[in-house]
């Protein structure tokens, strides 16, 4: 089953974007592809939610952008993590793991 970005848990998309950018700066298409690949096609990210998320994160000072020439010699906008973004990713990840573990525990006892 694929999960479109519309049904993603609120805030999860932001975390996925931050995680993708933790490795290297990427442009919009790259980010969407990377999320799809890393999730083995479970998450399909719609540009309609992806670009507003970029704007949101940029405004929050978590990512920054730069126009660069891409592989095929076209100008593309590359996003990269800021220091604050890196911190945010760390804390979000920790929080996510904590919650996921808790949920998993509940589900196990229930069955």
């Amino acid at each position: 089953m694929t999960v479109t970005s519309a049904t993603l848990v609120q805030g999860t998309l932001d975390m996925l974007i931050l995680k993708t950018l933790a490795l290297e700066p990427l442009h919009g298409w790259g980010i969407s592809q990377r999320i799809q690949q890393l999730s083995h096609g479970v998450f399909e990210v719609n540009p309609g939610s992806l670009f507003p998320a970029f704007r949101r994160l940029e405004r929050a000072g978590l990512i920054e952008c730069e126009w660069q020439t891409s592989e095929n010699n076209r100008r593309a906008k590359y996003y990269s993590l800021t220091k604050a973004g890196r911190q945010k990713l760390r804390s979000e990840t920790k929080e996510w793991e904590r919650q996921a573990a808790a949920i998993a525990r509940i589900l196990q006892t229930a069955s």
Binding site: W29, P47, G48, F51, R59, G61, A76
Partner: protein, 907 residues
Amino acid sequence: MGLWTNLFAGLCGLFRKRQAEQELEDELRDFLEKSAAEKMRAGMTREEAHRAARLEMGGIEAVKENVRSASWETHLESLWSDLRFGARLLRFNPVFAGAAILSLALGIGANTAIFQLLDAVRLRTLPVKNPQEIARISIDNRHGASGDFTSRYSDLTYPMWVEIHAQQQAFSNLFAWSPTQFNIAPSGEVHNVQGLWVSGEFFQTLGLEPILGRFLNSTDDTPGCATGGAAISYSFWQHQYGGDRSVIGRALTLNRRPFEIVGVTPADFYGVEVGRYFDVAVPLCTEAAIMGEDSQMKSRSGWWLASMGRLKPGWTIERASVQLQAISPALFEDTLPTDYNPDNTKHFLSFKLGAFSADSGVSDLRKDYEQPLWLLLALAALVLLIASANLANLMLARASAREKEMGLRMAVGASRGRLIRQLLAESLLLAAIGAVLGALLAHNLSQLLVASLSTPHDPLFVELGTDWRVFGFTAGLAVLTCVFFGLAPAVRATSVAPGVVLKEGSRGTTEGHGRFGLRRILVVSQIALSLTLLVGALLFARSLAKLTSVETGFRQTGILVTDIDFSSLKLSNERRISFGHELLSRIRAIPGVDNAATAETVPLSGNEEFHDILPGISDPPTEQNPASAFNHVSPGFFETLQTPLLAGRDFNDHDVAGSPLVAIVNESWARKILKTSNPVGVMFRVRRLSKISGPFEIVGLVKDTKYGDLREEPLEIVYLALQQDPHANQDSQILIHSSLPLPELTSAVKEAADSAHSGLDVSFLSFRTMIENGLMRDRLMAKLSGFFGVLAVLLAVIGLYGVISYMVARRRNEIGIRMSLGADRRSIIALVLRESLWLLSIGLTLGIAFSLAASRAAASLLFGLKPHDVATLVMATAILAVIALAASYIPAIRASQLDPMDALRNE
């Protein structure tokens, strides 16, 4: 940090809008290209790949819109464009916009003006350092105190103040003060200014700094001083000395005595009394020298001082009260007046001192006007509500005219929230313009109000600043009205199903009841509210009419009250009586003066004198001796005022010192004290505190008259012969009845006074004016509530007219059919009037119920009327019904004159 980045980025976005849009476009195109390239690699053709990529994205414009709405500046931008759109709509409807803005400005202006006064009189704190630490020291319940009360704040006697100052522990500093008037003219005609007597620590306690020179301090206020330094107020410095900095050290004459100006107070300091101001403050100790024989400094029964102090750190009002209570028994024992009778003594020794919060100063104005102002604020709020209801009605009418436009816009994808926002922006614009104009209007209105309450003899001063409270109040009103008249129509206008609205033409649709119902509810509530305002207006107008026509027992017109002060002559008691007699004779001799008489207490002047009456010639005093109002008058007093003498005789020139003591009493006196209708010949004595005088023989009986206040029930009054008064005043108050023009009369009186002794202080006041000044509050209530009432009725009638006209327009079709089926003009008129009668009767019924509930708030301000006065209610209902029916008659006539063919064709 995030906030600042966001703010900064948003602002950049606003200013580099073109570039930002271009970058977004580029970025999305790049995404599409890459997406398509990927698909081509998977084997699609170029066209297929591009098409699929675009489909996946779901429209480049939609994505852009999503990105834009992720940033705040977009909302700002859309608000701005909404406002511009709103402004354009208003420009296209200048009549609508003008009427709306005018009614809002009037409503908001009236509310703000009254609130501004309330703020200044009630809510604001004193302009001194840490006002919350200031407390007033006074007797908790001074009821039953006896003696001379000569100031607006007669809390304490001087001996009490000395003891309080010595024994209290709660205050780091404290002071006593008393308001007074000083004559600053070195000679000749009197020029009175507002003065203060202040004890040494006055300025120090309040924590004020002089803007020039120095302030008075404890060394200025040494008992027995003959003269001293004077601190003048900023405004006095400005208008009397033109702000001259060399004023320090100059001489200032106060009541013919030289004082030296030592300092100028800060510009915003008006004293500790809200609603008044002062020009000159002098040390308390100078009262003895200035007042001479009338000084109350030494008197134990002269109440003329008020006291305030600054609490020590850590002390509360409650703790201070406890300490003051603890010292009370001994303190009142030590300051017991020597001339008290046992009754007075018992009261006096039971007094308890207390501390009372005084962070907003003291004010007799507040006592008189706080309730009327709250009431007026409520009335003004109702007017604003009615005005808003009118606007809501207009907006609703416009909303139904724009139904199609709304439907179309929703059909092409506008969200409902966006449309509501846009409609609200228009209302917001109206409310904001109305509020700004209202605030400007308010400033003038409140000044006008204060001016209308001020008289030359009793000048008021209210510091009418616009502080955060006033600003918040006005802004709050604007938002409230905007929501009130804007929100419902906006919600209503956008609650249409686009399909239905677009499909239905005007042809064939019937008027839905639901949509029209809201407008009916608005009109009904307008009628109900305006009836309440009309009832209020009529109540106050009738109350004022009753007050001005109340039977006073004397004539009021054509009488000049003249005060001739001869205290500078320093006469003995006998000489005072003979000099007063001489003055009166000279004035009576002026050609054109047909009557003149002297009275120690001019009726309705605010002065009062009460003493105990002991019946018979030797009965010992009991605890139940009746009290009576007193006056000392010359022969001719009753004739001058045309008070009928019912039995016996008037005083004459043989009733002098040494001859048998005589008295004249009024009907109430005879009835209540003697329980007889013919008191002539009866003897009685008078007890002033512990001193018993008399016996007096009653020689005459006069009709009841008013004494201190127009509202009072008839009082027992006894008149004694002025010539037999053992404590004659050092001035003569002469009531002159004359047909001479005022300027001629006053100059003749001045001449007469000069011929008796040159250089006497003479002042004049018309008796009628004096009485009218006592009705200032009633006049204010009648005027303002009348204004609000008329405004409310006007607005409600416009509302009703609008709704009825709208109904007629909507039912053209139906009316046309009825007419072509044979309905005559009268039945069409009846059809329309039935509608308005229906609305009117519901509105009036609700209004009567509301008026009955609301008018109770006015009860204490009314005279001679119950708040639920039936005649008033009937009158108001009838007036409103007639005006409202007349207003709906116009559209009814118009409906009856429709050409049926025209109406049917021209749907």
